[in-house]
Symmetry: D2
Subunit: 344 residues, 4 copies
């Protein structure tokens, strides 16, 4: 029996229909701008995100790194929510590739105008790094897939603009935020100069991300995509998967959210589990294990023996993610297994 893999929404395998779309994709050399399927994906996403232009990239990490390179200069400071992907999950790339310091603020994956303002070091004093960019991750992965309240997003981006800061939306899971909030992606993206989205997470494509923004900025992104080694060739194969996913897998994210909720409610009732159900808004469940409960590595190991895969996010923190390849029955089964493992 296949394990129930809740490690990440990236583990999904392409469906037969997605494979068929890939096999039939019309392709060309994307480095000459001649891949018709990539071009179609870029046009469609630009429209969907309400931006002028868009560019495909191999990964969400590259989207974030390219965004940093085009929106900052080495020595600049970036304000972002605590435990954001760019500071935690890109193996130090933000400093190594773009030469920037990320200042992590707020809590629970969000921050408001006062926290932005407090994080900006006094201007005009040349000792301090200048803050030139604010970044919001929506949904916020390590905070448990929370959706950043749109009014807060708008306040922060408006203030950023007043202060002369650029703004970037790390929307690797923006699709989930849209479904959960009932707001179209373009509305969620509107306050930002540049927005990144990912096709390989909840949407279930085998790879690929995208940046959208004004055409001049996307042209700059194109150069940095190439400089980092992300310019590929007959990329329509992957673009076809993304287009298929946009058509077929966007609405169904609601199902992942329901499954995550079911799992979270079961976990919240287990002894030794610290889990604020208010944070479970999309497809991610992050919970802490209190003293007395097994630690993260132990729980992950025992669950694996029972056919349930999780990720240890920290010494006593575990993440479970629902997705296309885990249905309601499997979710229920996982909840049962974890309940047994956590029972005193």
């Amino acid at each position: 029996m296949n394990p129930i893999d809740l490690r990440s929404d990236t583990v999904t395998r392409p469906t037969p229909a997605m494979r068929a779309a890939m096999a039939a994709a019309e392709v060309g050399d994307d480095q000459y701008g001649e891949d018709p399927t990539t071009n179609a994906l870029q046009r469609r996403c630009a429209e969907l995100l309400g931006k002028e232009a868009a560019i495909w990239l191999p990964s969400g990490t590259m989207a974030n790194q390219v965004a940093l390179r085009v929106l900052t200069r080495p020595g600049d400071e970036v304000v972002a929510a605590r435990e954001c992907h760019a500071a935690w999950h890109e193996t130090g790339g933000s400093a190594a590739n773009a030469g920037v310091q990320i200042v992590e603020v707020g809590r629970g994956g969000v921050f408001d105008v006062d926290e932005l303002e407090a994080a900006i070091k006094p201007r005009g004093l040349p000792v301090f790094p200048p803050t030139t960019l604010v970044q919001i991750e929506n949904t916020h992965n390590r905070a448990g897939g929370v959706v950043v309240p749109q009014a807060m997003v708008e306040r922060v981006c408006t203030r950023a603009r007043e202060l002369g800061l650029a703004s970037y939306l790390d929307g690797a899971r923006l699709w989930n935020a849209a479904i959960a909030s009932g707001r179209p992606e373009a509305e969620l993206a509107a306050p930002f100069d540049l927005v990144g989205v990912s096709f390989s997470k909840g949407l279930g494509a085998p790879g690929g991300s995208l940046l959208a923004g004004p055409r001049a900025l996307i042209t700059a992104c194109d150069r940095h995509r190439r400089m980092l080694g992300g310019a590929m060739r007959q990329n329509g194969i992957f673009a076809a998967a993304a287009l298929h996913a946009l058509d077929q897998h966007r609405e169904r994210l609601a199902e992942d959210h329901r499954n995550a909720r079911v799992l979270a409610e079961a976990l919240a009732g287990c002894p030794g589990v610290e889990l604020d159900l208010a944070t479970v808004q999309t497809n991610i469940v992050v919970f802490r294990l209190a003293p007395g409960a097994p630690d993260a590595a132990s729980l992950v190991a025992r669950a694996r023996e029972r056919g349930v895969l999780l990720v240890a996010f920290a010494a006593r923190t575990v993440r479970a993610v629902t997705h296309l390849d885990v249905d309601a029955a499997q979710t229920a089964r996982a909840a049962t297994v974890l309940g047994e493992l956590l029972a005193r």
Copy 2:
């Protein structure tokens, strides 16, 4: 009628058989090391290249950039052949990503031990950048796809090792060098610490490259692949194309070489064309246009009108590349068209 596209061997579209292989690929999440097709490709290429381990990457540029990052430190100097890809075609990445200076030496895409030695600035004097890496591009693209004589490769790498330098083979077109020289890839790669190959050029895959070397070095490459944004997910789709290409498209490179030769001989006979036939060893033809002949931009534009696509490499330099999607008849047709355009 489709144009005869001689701009690059990257423009090939996957064949039906390759598409079928991709559609049927067994996949998993490559960031967890669980993509079986990628793993199979990595094992096979490690063996084929005579190295301990290997890692897939999205592009030849990323292979080169990761190689620089793991084999040097910022401020180091790298000796390479004049007009190498890393200095010319990676939009400044070598300095921006790895912080290194490339010292271009030799001529015609090759350099020997004396040129390596002359390029190493005196040691022990702290003003000079220390040379820590020698890089060979084989075949060498801008020099016309020339194969670096293996005895020269061995001399240079032996001397490099004596001098404490690491060595890297940019073998994006190593497959062509192997066919042209009759030497297996492992023999060509043996003198080097690390070797990069590409699947998206002559082999005709839609994307992807690979680095092979000792396991500890490949582990370091894995981190830098991630840091640059090259770690993807169900990458078996692309790996399947590469495996298919290794099986089906390696031997047939000889055909591309014959076609390139036919084209080159025709061009060499045209007035105003400067082309040393001795440089036409594989699938690339680089020729110069003498004063009196049209310049590169003009020839490229006129050929395009006639259905033949070329690349202007410099003001009076043009490149034509043969590949899987151009057969002998098309090559002959291209030769005729170019002959007519170049006739006085």
Copy 3:
């Protein structure tokens, strides 16, 4: 009347005796290693700090930046106390020059082993930046010149070594820590791989800092000093000032500490001033202004009108520093002025 300048201990002007020492300095070209006074300073400080070798640098910022470059690689993570100089007062250099992320931990300028351990992201997971360096700033400037308890320093450095991390002491004000703790500098520096000290702060020299450590590391520092542009020539002029300061101005730091204490006690009694006297251990007084009190910019501006110079460290935070050019009478005068300005 000259203002009472409490902005920083860097504002001191060389005394007549120090000027005489500079004017008489024996000099040579330090880039050839031939400046006898610089050599003498380096030998003396190596001994004083209990290290094998030492190297002069133009500033404490360069000492910190060179330390990061020799002890880390781009993409690494560095654990340091919250609001450390390298993250806050070097205008983004740590990321721009060395490509590292600084993780700020603890509170009040110190952190212990548990906080170090919690800050190190799980190893073996390639998404996380690897932590390779721990840095301690002693005394810690922005925390109010606190001395890090030596037992804590030893615990942290011992644990760092066990974990394979390098350790660096930003000892720009190590001289103050030595006087305040009654421990020799060599004892304070012993747990660290590399230590930086500054001559231009409490010691009163017009410029210059120094790194001390094992000879191989100092040789590496020499190269990076040059690469950053810090290699000078007849540097004995500045080295003579530093030697004079070591002889004449080290013991007298106790006087600055007494003055700071007097000032702090006066401030602590003012309405609206938040100041924990336990943090006032050396020559720095950092205090917060509660709501109702003037904000930092206002207090700084009004004090300037009355001949007392302070620094606004944040919107409601102010720093005052005692030093060689402020005696007990001036300190008392400053306390009176500030008391009047802060009276309700």
Copy 4:
């Protein structure tokens, strides 16, 4: 007897009068912009160089590195004369600090418009690094202290401006160029956006360089000076030496030029010496040793035994530099010694 030190014009020791000026310098904290002597030096040099503003830095290397940082972005390409200081004598800093590639062109330390144009890679093709800066070193050290013809400078800078490139003058020895050409420094500097000069070479100060240009650019330089660790404190000590040198040691450079000429003419007559007297225009003599003559290391070692210090610039290349601390009699003595060592 003291050796006759012809290794560099950096070895000069401050004269008694310069020491007196330094000892008497009025100083303040330059990081607060309050060092009156540094301010006076900056104003005077801005005027002397015909620019709006200027900033002191510890070394010529830092001046060059800061110039690269403010005039380029990582990944850019810089065109400069072959064997320029920034590529050869700054231990790899241009790539490590600024992320740029330097393309070395021309010969004999100079290049003209056609060489600039040929070095700029085709625009609009995203594979090529964009050229954004042209740099001229005047006088050019490794080419033998040659003065770049001002008409050529003007042509190159005019064309650079038309092409949208910034321009930088590495004028570490601009004072020599001014004396040799009879043109004021402001005229030599006029074509450039930014100009660097050095006080520690022919002018005989113990250290220090300066950048001059438009005020906004100098403000940006100030930040990068700080980020690299070049912001010092009571810097008026060094500024006083520079001001004294401007007054007392500028006109006398003609004497150094005469001495260099005498030495060069003697050397040119020696067997095995290859020396084009046309290159000996200022205070530097670079000559090659033909096969049959001793190599550079041998000649340098034997001359040292006879009390004459030289530098080996390459395996068979030697540099001798005249300066303030070598008079005509010592020059004649050095010529005699070298003549004896080179006699067959």
